[in-house]
């Protein structure tokens, strides 16, 4: 049975993929390798996993605003997530999603999404 969640569009788009969920905030600058998409932040719960092609789910961004450019680099290297779902999007991720044209939606209760489940994003709608 599918579940529909309604959020707020940060960057409009459609995408479908398996979810990769982090319950803690993410820093792209220094936290994710821009070429491989691997999470490299020491001690982060997703350390050693790649964000590539996943619907990446996390509460909010953190760290340097250079993180927006890292998201852009991920897109160019083919290692970007296919969509991003946040609880509360902030400047770094919003700017990164827009310049990289990664569908992005926030104001979603991310506790309802589990790693490995199939997720479809269409504008403000998230379907599980």
């Amino acid at each position: 049975m599918s579940v529909r969640l309604e959020g707020r569009v940060i960057f409009e788009g459609k995408a479908e993929g398996t979810a990769l969920v982090s319950s803690s905030p993410m820093s792209f600058y220094g936290g994710v390798d821009p070429n491989s998409g691997m999470v490299v932040e020491r001690g982060h719960e997703l350390q050693g996993q790649s964000v590539r092609g996943h619907v990446l789910v996390f509460p909010n961004g953190k760290g340097s605003t250079v993180g927006s450019y890292i998201m852009f680099r991920l897109k160019k290297s083919g290692s970007a997530p296919c969509a991003i779902i946040n609880e509360k999007c902030e400047t770094i991720v919003a700017v990164g999603a827009i310049i990289s044209e990664i569908p992005c939606v926030d104001k979603i209760d991310i506790r309802r999404i589990k790693t490995g489940s199939t997720v479809r994003v269409d504008g403000a709608t998230v379907e599980l």
Partner: protein
Amino acid sequence: MELTSEERGLLAGNEGRAARKCMQILVALGEIYGAESLVEVSSVQVSGVSYKNLGDAGIEFLSELAEDGRARVRSTLNPAGMSLTDWRAQGIPQGFAEKQLEVIDAYRRLGLEISCTCTPYLAGNEPSFGQHIAWSESSAVVYANSVLGAKTNREGGPSALASSLTGRTPLYGYHLDENRLPTLTINVEADLKSPEDFSAMGYFVGKTVKDGVPYFRGIRSAGVEELKTLSAALASSGGVTMFHMEGITPEAGVGPARSQAVSLTQAILAETTAALSDVGAPDFVSVGCPHCSLTELATIAELLRGRRVTREFWVCCSGEVKRRSDEAGYSAAIERSGAKFATDTCMVVAPIEDLGHKVVATNSAKACHYLRNSGLRVRFLPLEECVLEATR
């Protein structure tokens, strides 16, 4: 959010791809932070210039934007990762230099002034009281809001660039008077004797007030040098965007915060100062974080008179202030000692850990904070002692 017809046109792409992308960024940020509209800005300061921070991703983004994007308002740049003219003498590797020059070239094509300083207000980009601006160098943000009375949020590099290419910023946060009121009163009991004391005080208060607005009481006088190093420290240990100082800053008439007060004692100041230093003999000395004013260059020239430096000593300032210093004769006096000007750059954004230095002496709490994050050891010393260390 309500947009004017011109703004809707920009968003529709009538003025090209770059302006459209920038407009998307500003509208999204406006929605996230609850702005009702955009507001026109008169000045922009863009961070994200050093190749050390930007990397290839940044170059790629800026180059794409430069295909059809142009600055619409006066826009200046933060320091780069090296002096744009004397990088060889600084020991910067060729590969790094080529990438850094690519970054600068993209900004030039975008129509930004290649000012490369964290103190635009000392180099000609000085907004007036009440003006809306979009600045993204945290120390300059605090200075502009607090000392000049201009209005800006703490922008990131990309959002400031979006303001440059559209001439607008979302109207929220520190652009609104109700968000510029003090949240914590600091009763200054300590005797502040030097700019370094203001720096240490800022470091302590930044940690205490976090992203609030401190209101300083009990300070008799403070000049440009004291206020700029205080601004930098407040923004590095905390998320401060603005402060007030009774009898000194232009909006201090709103009065102190009613709810809470903290005392800044001599003991706290001494403790903070000591905690900013590691152990070890400095092998590198650098002053000018934020970039030196002409007054500071005059002091440094005087301190160096008749002395020779015995270790690498960088004096960081903008190209503009350096030119004024050349005319005043300070530059020659400084260079005669063997000290090097690091114009367009500084010890925080240049790749100094790759130049083989291990222990850095500096008179800036902000520099200590960021250099430690890069894995270097630091000594926090007054300007006079920095010069002594460099010439010992």
